[in-house]
């Protein structure tokens, strides 16, 4: 669960030539681009849900409690010394985790779920 991705010489800058995870793909193609006038447009089933799903930002009691928990988890007396290998993997592991979360949310959308061939 807890993935500490510390900036090290090996992973402080992550480059990807093309978006691969669902969240990154959505970032590039959803709601971005030249919009064609509504009266000739046809709505596509599933897009609205995607749009809502892609925007997850909040400021609430829940957020505050999560911040507090995160601070409480800190072990300020100790400086962790993780192995280099672990750090190297940290970045992609964190990414996988994020993707998992977003894809998990998507599973609830009927229109998307039917894409059996592509779901992992």
């Amino acid at each position: 669960m807890a993935i500490a991705t510390r900036g090290t010489a090996s992973n402080y800058l992550q480059r990807a030539p093309s978006p691969s995870g669902l969240a990154d793909v959505l970032d590039v193609i959803l709601d971005k681009g030249l919009v064609i006038d509504a009266y000739v447009r046809v709505s596509v089933i599933g897009i609205e849900v995607l749009t809502i799903d892609a925007r997850i930002v909040v400021a609430s009691v829940d957020t505050y409690l999560r911040f507090a928990e995160a601070v409480n988890r800190l072990d300020l007396a100790q400086t962790e010394t993780a192995g280099i290998e672990e750090l190297r993997e940290g970045g992609s592991a964190a990414k996988r985790k994020t993707e998992g979360a977003v894809e998990g949310a998507k599973e609830k959308i009927p229109g998307l779920k039917s894409d059996k061939e592509h779901s992992r």
């Binding site: 900036g7 093309s18 793909v25 596509v44 089933i45 897009i47 507090a68 928990e69």
Partner: protein, 251 residues
């Protein structure tokens, strides 16, 4: 709803190029269709015909849309359309887009010529950031110790602590974002900044000239080096300039 989309005339649109810059796109279109070019007076819309049945978005279609854009972008300057752009008929598309908005499209193609988009995200390491914030503010440290001692009984202290942390994070985010965006301004032609998550210092799409790609990368490297281990930089691209298709979005 999409009742009217269940006809064979509906056209899915990926974007617009100059007709002489792109011959064909081999990649499969959404719903597994073939990609075609619909030409009109020197402009060409990259399209595919939707099957007669109702079109429902599938996860795979997101990838297909992107791949079509990427293939076209490898050959030509493209003004991309958002995912899910479907019009009723080829005639509508020709009239409403290629004819009526011809000037706008030509201007956009000119503006985007030789330009690529890079999506950059600066992400805080939660632990490193929080540790730094707590160490800088005695009140946070006091509350941290208090809530830890009180456990579940300290519900209100926890909320108070969280509230203060949220404020500190957001302030930090603001300072970092404006400073770092400023450092990238020299090597970029335009930028669109978006809201990110709680631990995202900034998330932005940059319009960068191909000639300045190296300079831009160097600038990112400098930032990443200076800000670690509290921050990590993720860059994706070059991708087609989806965030800069309209001047309004690009500023």
């Amino acid at each position: 709803m999409a009742a009217s989309s269940a006809t064979s005339t509906a056209v899915y649109v990926y974007g617009v190029v100059r007709a002489d810059e792109l011959r064909a796109v081999a990649a499969e279109g959404v719903a597994g269709t073939a990609v075609e070019l619909l030409e009109h007076d020197g402009l060409a819309a990259v399209v595919s015909k939707l099957p007669a049945r109702e079109f429902r978005v599938k996860r795979r279609d997101l990838q297909r849309h992107l791949q079509v854009l990427e293939e076209a972008f490898a050959e030509a300057t493209i003004v991309p359309c958002p995912f899910g752009t479907v019009v009723l008929s080829e005639e509508d598309l020709e009239r409403v887009l290629l004819a009526e908005r011809r000037d706008e499209l030509l201007a956009a193609l000119e503006r985007l010529e030789g330009e690529v988009q890079l999506n950059v995200k600066a992400v805080y390491d939660e632990e490193e950031l929080l540790r730094e914030l707590v160490q800088l503010d005695p009140e946070l440290e006091r509350l941290r110790i208090a809530t830890k001692r009180l456990g579940d009984a300290g519900y209100y202290e926890q909320i108070r602590l969280g509230e203060l942390i949220a404020a500190a994070v957001s302030q930090r985010r603001e300072t970092d974002a404006s400073r770092l965006l400023g450092q990238l301004a020299d090597s970029t032609d335009d930028a669109v900044v978006e809201a990110g998550g709680a631990y995202v210092a900034f998330k932005a799409s940059f319009l960068v000239s191909r000639k300045k790609l190296k300079t831009f990368d160097k600038a990112l490297e400098r930032i990443a080096e200076a800000e670690q281990p509290v921050m990590r930089i993720e860059v994706i691209g070059p991708v087609p300039p989806t965030a800069f298709a309209t001047p309004a979005a690009g500023g």
